[in-house]
């Protein structure tokens, strides 16, 4: 039940950002569903993989793949989908708890939380980068083939 609620609110959150960024029509729907997929995949991976950062990385690779495909299908910049679909993965909770630990002066908890939050952010970014690199290599190869 809790998980269903999370997936629904992930969709809503992505939809909200889509509207703030002035995404329109079919693209708005595709972008918001990206948010839904990313959290659903994260939850599903939880059955096999315990480490959150590893899950973040895998989800990030898969969802940015979805973004690249959608961008090609709808002939629009990839940013449209990347900016909205990955929103639920932003470690806002981690940032907040890191802050409260810092304020209460609990240095051990602060370091622990801080490192965990940072590693999630880095895993997220690396996932996007991996997909970007793979896509650009694939596109170059395709162009090359067309020329020959």
């Amino acid at each position: 039940m809790n998980e269903v609620m999370q997936i629904l609110t992930a969709f809503l959150g992505s939809l909200g950002f889509g509207i703030l960024f002035n995404v329109r029509g079919k693209r708005l729907l595709a972008a918001s569903f990206g948010g839904l997929f990313s959290w659903a995949l994260f939850l599903v991976l939880g059955f096999g993989i315990v480490d959150e950062a590893v899950r973040y990385f895998i989800v990030s690779v898969a969802v940015s793949g979805y973004c690249e495909i959608m961008a090609r299908v709808m002939r629009t910049p990839t940013t449209t989908f990347l900016m909205t679909a990955l929103i639920p993965l932003i470690p806002g909770g981690g940032l907040y708890y890191t802050m409260t630990n810092a304020m209460s002066g609990d240095l051990d908890a602060f370091m622990g939380r801080g490192m965990a939050t940072l590693s999630l952010a880095v895993a997220l970014a690396l996932g996007v980068v991996v997909t970007t690199v793979i896509t650009s290599i694939a596109l170059k190869l395709k162009l090359h083939k067309n020329k020959m």
């Binding site: 809503l12 909200g16 940013t79 900016m83 806002g92 940032l95």
Partner: protein
């Protein structure tokens, strides 16, 4: 025979004047793409292609998030340069989408300068979602993420209220043109204040989820992700600028909460 119509145009008429006009239009399109939130290397690539398509000999394009410099060299060995200062970036995906489509058509050739101008003006004057819609949308994002991070329905409701107020704070700081970092700082202070106020009044069981929900509203989107992406693709300057902005905003959010807690520790906690 790309851009043959344009070439004919500026060879038969006065060469320099038309070239300036063309460069101006190309820069306008690039500037709008950058302002609407396109990645730097995409805009560089687009401007380069457009310059090629309109028949210049060579084009040197240098773009960072806050400035663009474009120099084109024509076949009679003249050079024209334009620079643009980008003061603010206001993410507008619809405008980016249409500018990108326009750019593709320009690169395809067979578009006269007047046609490009007309399309450009049509895109600029197109209206976005109504501004008032942003108030409930801020609320919905705050509320949704309060529940997402483990809050109950009540907390979601109050996070919605806080989100709407945050949009008001953003409107006020925007009017005073105080910049994004300060705006985030003020918002974060307001969110902390309201959450603790509701908590004190006994309306919500804890402040945590209401604040987290609204941190998600304020956080610089995937600014850091974009920054790392730019860095790895090779746009070091653009990447560093973006990374610094993302980190500054995260610090501003933390500072807002710190300030509230230190000021009111005795009175409210």
């Amino acid at each position: 025979m790309k851009g043959n119509v344009l070439i004919l145009f500026y060879i038969t008429l006065n060469y320099g004047g038309i070239m300036k006009e063309i460069l101006n239009t190309v820069c306008d399109i690039g500037e709008q793409m950058l302002r609407s939130g396109a990645e730097v290397h995409r805009v560089e690539d687009s401007v380069q292609r457009m310059c090629k398509a309109v028949g210049t000999l060579r084009a040197d394009v240098f773009i960072i998030t806050s400035s663009m410099i474009v120099t084109v060299y024509t076949e009679d060995e003249k050079a024209f340069t334009q620079t643009r200062r980008i003061l603010s970036i206001n993410t507008d995906i619809e405008r980016l989408h249409r500018m990108n489509a326009l750019c593709r058509r320009v690169c395809g050739g067979n578009m006269s300068l007047d046609e490009i101008r007309a399309e450009y003006n049509a895109i600029i004057s197109a209206k976005g979602y109504p501004a008032l819609l942003e108030y409930p949308v801020y609320g919905v994002i705050g509320g949704a993420f309060a529940i997402f991070f483990g809050g109950g329905f009540i907390e979601g409701l109050f996070a919605f209220v806080v989100g709407v107020v945050l949009r008001l704070v953003v409107a006020l700081t925007d009017r005073a043109t105080l910049g994004r970092v300060f705006s985030r700082f003020a918002c974060s202070f307001a969110a902390s204040l309201l959450a603790h106020l509701f908590f004190k009044m006994g309306l919500i069981p804890s402040v945590d989820h209401v604040i987290i929900g609204n941190i998600m509203v304020l956080i610089p989107g995937i600014g850091l992700t974009n920054a790392i992406r730019d860095l790895i693709v090779g746009d070091s300057i653009a990447g560093l600028l973006r990374a610094i902005e993302a980190v500054l905003i995260a610090l501003a959010i933390a500072a807002g909460h710190f300030l509230f807690i230190t000021l009111f520790r005795g009175i409210m906690l």
